[in-house]
Symmetry: C3
Subunit: 471 residues, 3 copies
């Protein structure tokens, strides 16, 4: 049965008429605001080269681990979805056939944010009027591919159409930011900046760490066989990134542990880690110390610091061996912040130059640790609900559990953190709707006046992100 | 004051008119579906012998630790409730007097699921029209007892009246399933199967473990003094259970820890555990290894595997000494799954023959660990909210916290896990109402279309459990 | 822009008309009930001396760490708020100027309970009709100060106006309760009692512990160089407190750990702790043992025992050094109760004379541990949502997560735990509104009858606290 695709104008607003009416009023104030996307993982070459996207499957299935993990969880082999293997063994290459798998199993996404994002993309970007299903799979596949071949669907055109004011990608210090420079040098006005993500040269457990640190020395002309040379390499590279428009750093550690070792200790530890022989405890201690060093450098150069901790990466051994990283098998871990952040905060927590934005996948920390910390320390801000919690219920819980202790002004608005470029407006729209609905609830049980809610709606949708990330 | 007993037809539905109207429509689709009860602890002899239940107190108070724990928590002695002691010291034997204690204290259950289940039993099964209270205690006691003496209230008649399509009990491998065979051999058509629950021969800390393992060897004609003989005993007994209609196993460990030891290590460990001298760490390691072995056997024989971890059993030392196990003193513990399940998943997590259903009493794992795991691994499914969370608010939180990441199709519908036979329809009804209400919420804020919700309501109430448990 | 200050009569009630109507009915039953405030930190000298409060800043900003922590978190220096330093270095002394800082930044409190409490104080106590802002700052400052100078705003007059039936402060055993005795001896009828809070002589990590224990011996005429003398000192001092009207003890430990050591062990440990050389582990073990001793004494003397665990005190090192304790830098920690409380419960958990009220800042323990424990052990009761969770959302989560397993009657009503005297009626009003709203929800989805909800509303607002604290 072919069903009409509907995006209801009141979607995500409460069915309670009082709340819905207020939410509508608030949403009108923010729905057309430009998008600030201060943290994500889109590919800068899309915007430097502005090549047309290949086809529906390459654009919407293969790069989106939210999408293919659900199919995999229900027994569909990653090979059948065309996910390439580390040894380049044979996988499905018929993109239309892969698209049909998604279409046939589209019911699996019921109730998930992926479903909402995809439907929004289908409706808003491609103007589909019917729901994706087996019957409509070819219609979808052909329509999307035809659209992608036109200029209006090239990356820069979509960026402009999406009203993105600033988009930040994330790069390793080893990256030369050539794509970003090409964008800057082009006649296109889109603002695409990077973020300094030093994990490959900070995490001794990162694949290729030892050689990465060597290479890090070469490109910065510093002697990274010594800790002081290594720190200088960071300083130089941060300056290089900053010169290319970067305003933030990002740190994706397994925990939020920080530390501060005295000179002799950190130098001895550094010698071990660059030998490639660090134990897991030593690796953890090195990462912990480096967060504090990064905070010191942020105070010097003004880059806003972000910590994204608490993920067990590549949990599925079989999938990791066969298909490599980022295949939907990253699983959150219990994450604590109170004792973990103390060494860094003892050293720099009262410095007015520092901004440190905290994220978590462990929602138990919201009310217990993160809101109390952010409601006290001037340097701390709470990042939006992240990853699995970038969802209506995730956003609801975030506001319910952080607002009363941290307030709104110790949060930093929304960021999408996505690789799926087309979903960016859909994701920001979900955040704007959920925040408007939350504000409407506060108005309707008289915890907030309407004019306050109107101001806050704009702050949450636009201003707070811009301020926090110095954009 | 005698009050009218009312079971409102809209109970548990939102008071929001939009949501309630949709919930009503959905509930009409599922309210009369047969009951699949794939996991519980009812007594199979009820159905093999079909003897009348004794009286209201023996049926509704003494076997129900939900009921007597609340009375105990408010200072009523277990002796006064007729709970028998391990040393057979004197306890109250006047069942009518015990029934009066419940009646007098019935207000204590306000807001609890026990209250809702009991009232449903009183209204639906016994047709009471007044609320239980001191004034109505005798009326209740006499009416219930009179009813129980009739054929219409014998176990098989109630089973049929409750429209139970399949009921699974849970037995130790040492059980010969004589009751189940008697049921099978009878002229009654009710389907009552067992579940393979090997804790008494898998958990070295279980009372009587050493002699149980010996006995396990005798009944299977295997040499359980060796680990390979012990594994063979499991294989044979699983086959025996399967032949009696069993489709699942169940494992009630203190944690979700799994492990996989090499041959020499597990043989050495086995020698220690069957000597009765295992340390707590060795006992934990043995249980952990055995979960992985059980997964291997499930791949062989197709039995669906369930893990129910994270309970501190018999926490109240005084009560345990005086009254023994299962006296309402089991308390949940923090429970993690990510690192704990990895050894098992590394070995068998991508095997398409495995189904592993996970339960928890630690709701913090829902959004952080369980939904991400089930939303990725093909073998994993999420069991319904369990035990203390088999309740309206518990069900609400389960759906709110798992749906967005795991979807609906990585869950397995409802199971009641109860010893209280009469409460089975009441419990399934609560689950059906809460799921319909949740789906109605998604329809009303436009996250789901009505026709999708109608399909899902049936899946959640009936089909998913049937499929997951291979019934 | 000057805005009208409105306290909506339906504030905190659901915007759903059905629920709101029931909530209104329930609230009418409780809104004027006297206030039982069985646990807090107000200053007894206010009531013994009955001196007029100094000015708006001294009354409403400086003693309220909820208020100044939010300003501090947004970069306003504590010096600029007139918070005095440990070394008495210069800080802002112009109270009007400090008041202007609050006024200018009043928007930061949007959505926080502080905002609601302050507005309630402004409206109800001082009759303001405009919202606090830069424009109205002087009007506020002058009006408040003028009022404070009058007899009607002296502490005793406010106490009477607030309809406080009983207020409990908290004092160290070293305190002679002179203020409380003066209150008792006065011609004023207000009931202001203390609570026995022995942390300074129980926690080896408390500043000045060693000399405090010596002093403890002196004032009790016991030899606190021996453990038995130390216990006798406690017994005497508890008797002294009890004679002054005290009905409860309170214990603010970093964890809920309890222990029970044999005589030789605890004597050896005691010798170490009073030498001032206890390791952190020894300090923890001593505190743990002492909780069990305190339970034993509670059984003897009938004092109700409270545990407030799980706070990392004075987390901000810089602030602690410069400004000292209690500066808004206390951060909650993960807190578990199941294994931690077992030693105490093994010893005294079934004793009918013991009442032990548990609090937590780790909401994850509500449904997992605290409700199951309180729903079983006769001695255990759940304290209300505490500190950061003394808020609308915090109260909502508490009831949602504890009611189904612990019921209502294993909870103890509300207590404000505040230093901010003027906020006491506002805080109790929030609790009454939120409880009425929760009961109204249960009525509206037919989990509770209206007459039951009416009874419960009174229990939660008044009776349960009075009973649990023996007031």
């Amino acid at each position: 049965m072919i069903k009409k695709l509907v995006l209801h104008p009141d979607r995500l607003f409460s069915s309670d008429e009082n709340i819905r009416n207020v939410a509508r009023v608030l949403y009108q104030k923010v729905k057309d605001l430009p998008i600030i996307s201060p943290h994500g993982h889109t590919d800068p070459s899309w915007f430097s080269q502005n090549t047309a996207f290949e086809n529906a499957t390459e654009l919407l299935i293969k790069p989106d681990h939210y999408v293919f993990r659900m199919l995999y969880s229900q027994g569909i082999a990653l090979e059948d979805l065309g996910i390439s293997t580390t040894e380049n063994t044979e996988v499905e290459t018929d993109s239309r056939k892969i698209w049909h798998i998604l279409a046939k199993n589209y019911y699996l996404y019921r109730g998930t944010p992926s479903r909402m994002w995809l439907d929004t993309v289908f409706f808003e970007v491609f103007n589909f009027e019917v729901v994706l299903s087996e019957e409509t799979a070819d219609h979808y596949y052909d329509t999307i591919n035809a659209a992608l071949a036109t200029d209006a669907f090239k990356p820069r055109a979509l960026f402009d159409r999406f009203k993105i004011e600033c988009l930040s990608t994330t790069e390793s210090p080893l990256n030369d930011l050539a794509e970003h420079k090409a964008i800057n040098d082009s006649d296109w006005n889109g603002r695409v900046i990077s973020g300094y993500r030093p994990d490959p040269v900070v995490d001794p457990e990162y694949e290729g760490f030892v050689s990465a640190v060597k290479h890090f020395g070469e490109i910065t002309d510093e002697d990274t066989s010594t800790f002081s040379g290594y720190l200088s390499a960071h300083r130089k590279r941060r300056t290089y990134f900053k010169a290319a428009g970067v305003t933030s750093t990002d740190h994706g550690h397994p925990t939020a542990q920080t530390a501060y070792l005295v000179k002799a200790e950190i130098e001895a530890l550094y010698a071990i880690v660059i030998s490639g022989k660090a134990s897991p405890e030593q690796a953890e201690l090195f990462r912990a110390h480096m967060l504090t060093e990064m905070a010191a450098m942020s105070i010097e150069d003004g880059l806003v610091m972000q910590i994204h901790p608490g993920v067990y990466r590549n949990h599925n051994q079989g999938v990791f061996k066969q298909f490599g990283r980022d295949k939907g098998a990253d699983i959150p871990l219990q994450t604590s912040f109170v004792e973990q952040l103390k060494p860094l905060l003892d050293k720099y927590g009262t410095n007015p130059e520092l901004t440190l934005i905290l994220f978590t996948l462990d929602e138990t920390a919201y009310s217990r640790e993160l809101a109390p910390l952010a409601g006290h320390y001037p340097c701390l801000r709470l990042g939006p609900p992240w990853w699995f919690h970038d969802s209506p219920e995730g956003m609801r819980r975030f506001r319910q559990q952080t607002t009363e202790t941290a307030g709104f002004y110790n949060t930093v608005g929304f960021n999408d953190d996505t690789r799926a470029f087309l979903s960016i407006p859909a994701r920001h729209d979900v955040a704007r709707r959920m925040d408007c609905n939350w504000l409407a609830e506060l108005v309707c049980d008289h915890r907030l006046e309407l004019d306050e809610a109107e101001e806050l709606a704009v702050e949450l949708a636009y201003t707070l992100a811009k301020k926090a990330y110095k954009l």
